[in-house]
Symmetry: C2
Subunit: 259 residues, 2 copies
């Protein structure tokens, strides 16, 4: 039995989770151990005994732990090939797939992540007392993550947020251009390139509706909807709960949700 340690089906956690749902039977071949980000469970001692860097997702397979979401996806194809093939057989197409998964990890995920933190995590960070916050920071093994939490609590500078929004606009333009002439991102088949980009792009029609909509990015919207129709995606979303990381309900009532 494979065990995926992750948050709910979004962002980096979604990548290996959807790969598992595409390839295997949930409950028989794999299970999802969902950590609670609101309780900082990924920074707890029990989890850091599994992954010392305190990051999700991580995959445990017969006593060995594989980390890094994109690496886990390729590992599943390497170690557990099934009838569902999520990597092109042709080397050149496979290279194109890797250019797209690499691009997610180095560009697309970061700009979306910062805005996600600004809108969601910052509420969690601000809700803590100074003492509880500093106590929490001590449990984070990666210095850059400590800085990100501190920024989330203090508020991200506006020029950084503007720059990230510029990069998001560049990103969705790039995806839409590629998907205008291609059903899938690489190699003519639904692959890890699609899964890893979908992990970030899904629900941007809601959260970034000014950028991702039927008029400006029709091909990207078509592709997001097409992936949402897949049985594996429906099963994943019906089985594994998503987190709600926005402002708490009372705050939502006071002010409109951020654009």
């Amino acid at each position: 039995m494979l065990t995926l340690y992750s948050f709910g089906p979004m962002a980096n956690s979604l990548k290996p989770m959807l790969t598992l749902f595409e390839k295997f039977e949930h409950g028989r071949d794999f299970e999802v151990h969902r950590l609670n980000p609101a309780q900082f469970e990924h920074h707890s001692d029990w989890y850091k005994a599994i992954h010392p860097r305190g990051q999700v997702p991580a995959l445990a397979d017969r006593g060995r732990v594989v980390t890094e979401s994109t690496v886990i996806c390729e590992y599943l194809e390497d170690e557990h090939p099934t009838e569902v093939v999520l990597r092109p057989a042709d080397s050149f197409d496979r290279a194109q797939m890797r250019v797209w998964t690499k691009w997610v990890d180095e560009y697309f995920c970061w700009c979306v992540s910062t805005i996600g933190w600004h809108r969601g995590i910052s509420h969690m960070a601000k809700a803590l007392s100074d003492e509880a916050f500093e106590e929490h920071l001590k449990n984070i093994p990666i210095p850059e993550q400590q800085v990100k939490w501190r920024r989330a609590r203090e508020g991200f500078p506006q020029d950084l947020l503007d720059e990230e929004m510029r990069k998001i606009a560049v990103s969705v333009r790039r995806l839409d251009d590629q998907l205008a002439d291609n059903e899938w991102l690489a190699g003519g088949l639904y692959s890890l390139a699609d899964i890893c980009n979908f992990a970030i792009a899904n629900r941007m029609q809601v959260g970034f509706a000014e950028l991702v909509n039927g008029e400006d990015t029709p091909h990207l919207v078509r592709w997001i909807e097409q992936i949402n129709e897949r049985p594996a995606v429906k099963q994943m979303l019906a089985t594994i709960p998503s987190e709600r990381l926005g402002p708490p309900p009372e705050e939502s009532r006071k002010e409109p949700a951020p654009a």
Copy 2:
């Protein structure tokens, strides 16, 4: 015949170049088309017809172009397997290799690159007239690269340089710790993990001697020297010239080289 478009044997250009020298015979199986960074040849129209993003390295293989240094390395293993195997056969070990190549691309190479630009490229950028510089910027397809050139000309802010030096210290500590108990970075064999990290770490004993030296990082120094003893590395360095991107000679005479 494979053609690698690249700069000289350092940084990202070194990764696929060394992979080629390890696996194939130079002049028979592959050639290196070296671009001149001092003439901004990678931003020229002829090269952008090959790689529209104007970045090196790129590999041309029977009319198809593979980009991104790490992706090219895996492509060579996928498409052109030889007796020299640079990826672990075991899936878990291969995943560890990918964690290390990913780490180079997302962390280690960036901090070293900024300091390299500060010490080297900035001299090139400052030597241009305002007009020539703005003309050059127009040829750069990637907005973030335009920003980097502008910063190189204006001078990188000191707090950014300090932060990058902190990350470099973290990086070499991490490498030394891993190499203390392991001859190679992943899977018990010389692999793409070693090649991709060596591409950035080689010559840090000279350029970053305060961090990389026999006392502070003996295992990292041992590993760098061990890789330099490989016939493929010796042949590569003897065959493909390196650039000299530091200050021009007259400036070197005026002031000591940067630490």
